[in-house]
Symmetry: C2
Subunit: 310 residues, 2 copies
């Protein structure tokens, strides 16, 4: 199979990431199915697409050779469905963004395996799990590869394409070319690794940030001020976590805490869990470490604010 | 003692950091002594000051109430000396940037302790050591506090002021006010912590970056491309290490590898050590992970460069 033979793409899981990936594929003229078990998630996805399109997607990174399309025109290429049969039918490539649980991912792909043509490529957008954790369960391990997005609608956009030990080597090439065809800059880790390249570093940085607050070395705001002031960035680690969603951060923490039975990871789980229990999971609920839509880290004098001395 | 009573400041260690701190203090009208055991280091410091001044220091972050001074005028307030007696005489505050070795720092302050007035405040610019590791050796633990700089000549500039268990609490306030008087935004960790706030996170990120290369997951360039492309930053972790100096990174790695007898840290030591042995310690020798003055990560298409697929 060649990348140019990929015509119909199914995105499984209609959360923030799935919605963005579906929109980017449709924008690049693929026929897209966005599949989710929940009708309300699909409805939410449409809202997310409208919001993102107007916030930063609009018109950017389009081929100059093609006429700019409106969001409505692009959306005609996306079918929203709760039917897995419809999602599987005649599909060339599936990318899943369902919750970070290897069992769930394995089961989902096992169902797709029975319904999809033999040619269908299975890809996972997992952030820190390994494809090998659920490759056998999919029923077609040689056609499973990670295709992981960061900000698919933005430019530049980086995507990771990562094989596991049993992935057909040709598939890596096909999926990387597909990723490039939807305007992603491709990074191919040379071996299977939790967090690929970037998430491996980001995870270490976020863990260190949480430890500083848990250990009482600094407050959330002081940690972010330090990072923003020295790195000259518009966000610090806690603002980044609000953006990712604390429910997602929690799920990742929890998985690795249990997998490694690591006390440091358990501690971070508890820390993030307290925010989640209060319903403060980040931007999407209007409150996480910061309060939205006008979080304090966006104040002009946030970085320069003098510490309470003495 | 009040911050405004600080008039004469001694900077011990005339490396890149010491030179910048001395220049920033002189620019803010303090009387400065730059002390080093090596004449050639002092000569090098003058060159560094000229270079930095023209590169980014010139005119920035000056009080608008004061007339802009030329570098030559500012330099009249800096005495360059190899005499510790001269450095100690009538000194209000010492900040040391000597190599990252607690024994060396303790011995240096012990010598100053015998020569300085009782009022002299001892501050360390260590990046990851703890003041408590050499506080007793100084002979005046209650007057020792960390005052740690990042980019002292830039704006914004962040500085950490950190006590150890025996530091006089009033001293934290005095040193923080002094730091503000030389245009630093102050972060005060609530307890003693290796790496303060920012360096704790940076260290975790840099360690993760090295592990990716050591484990063969990605190349130096791929790691930096991922970070730069996703964080929208002009430098990735390896470029940052070239900037810090691989000799300094090595010394920090080595200290903690031995202190914790941590095999992961020993591995990173070996990795960085190979560069150092070849004399490739970063920007200052024209070669580190990248070749200077035109490192490849500054190429327009560095991030977008397509991975070698297949």
């Amino acid at each position: 199979m060649q990348a140019k033979e990929i015509k119909k793409v199914t995105i499984a899981g209609a959360g923030t990431m799935g919605s963005q990936i579906a929109l980017q594929c449709a924008r690049k003229r693929f026929t897209v199915v966005l599949y989710d078990v929940s009708e309300s998630s699909l409805a939410g996805a449409k809202q997310v697409m409208h919001h993102l399109w107007h916030a930063f997607g609009k018109g950017k990174s389009q081929d100059s050779s093609q006429a700019l399309e409106s969001l409505d025109e692009i959306l005609t290429r996306i079918k929203f469905t709760t039917s897995i049969e419809e999602a599987a039918e005649d599909c060339d490539l599936i990318n899943e963004s369902v919750p970070e649980d290897p069992k769930l991912k394995g089961e989902l792909f096992a169902r797709f395996n029975k319904l999809c043509p033999a040619r269908t490529i299975f890809t996972t957008n997992t952030s820190t799990l390994l494809p090998s954790m659920f490759a056998e369960e999919t029923g077609r391990p040689e056609r499973l590869v990670a295709l992981h997005f960061h900000k698919p609608l933005m430019s530049p956009a980086i995507a990771d394409v990562m094989a596991h030990a049993k992935t057909d080597k040709e598939l890596v090439k096909v999926v990387a070319e597909f990723a490039e065809s939807i305007d992603q800059i491709v990074i191919i880790p040379h071996k299977e690794n939790s967090g690929y390249v970037f998430n491996h570093m980001l995870g270490a940085m976020l863990d260190a940030a949480m430890d500083l607050v848990i250990d009482g070395v600094a407050t959330v705001e002081e940690v972010d001020r330090s990072w923003m002031g020295i790195m000259l960035m518009p966000q610090g680690p806690f603002a980044i976590m609000d953006h990712i969603g604390l429910d997602t951060v929690y799920k990742i923490c929890q998985f690795w805490a249990e997998a490694e039975n690591n006390p440091l990871r358990h501690r971070r789980c508890e820390f993030i869990g307290e925010y989640c229990q209060r319903g403060h999971v980040g931007i999407k609920t209007g409150q996480g470490f910061y309060k939205y839509p006008q979080p304090s880290f966006q104040d002009t004098n946030f970085v320069a604010k003098t510490a309470a001395i003495g």
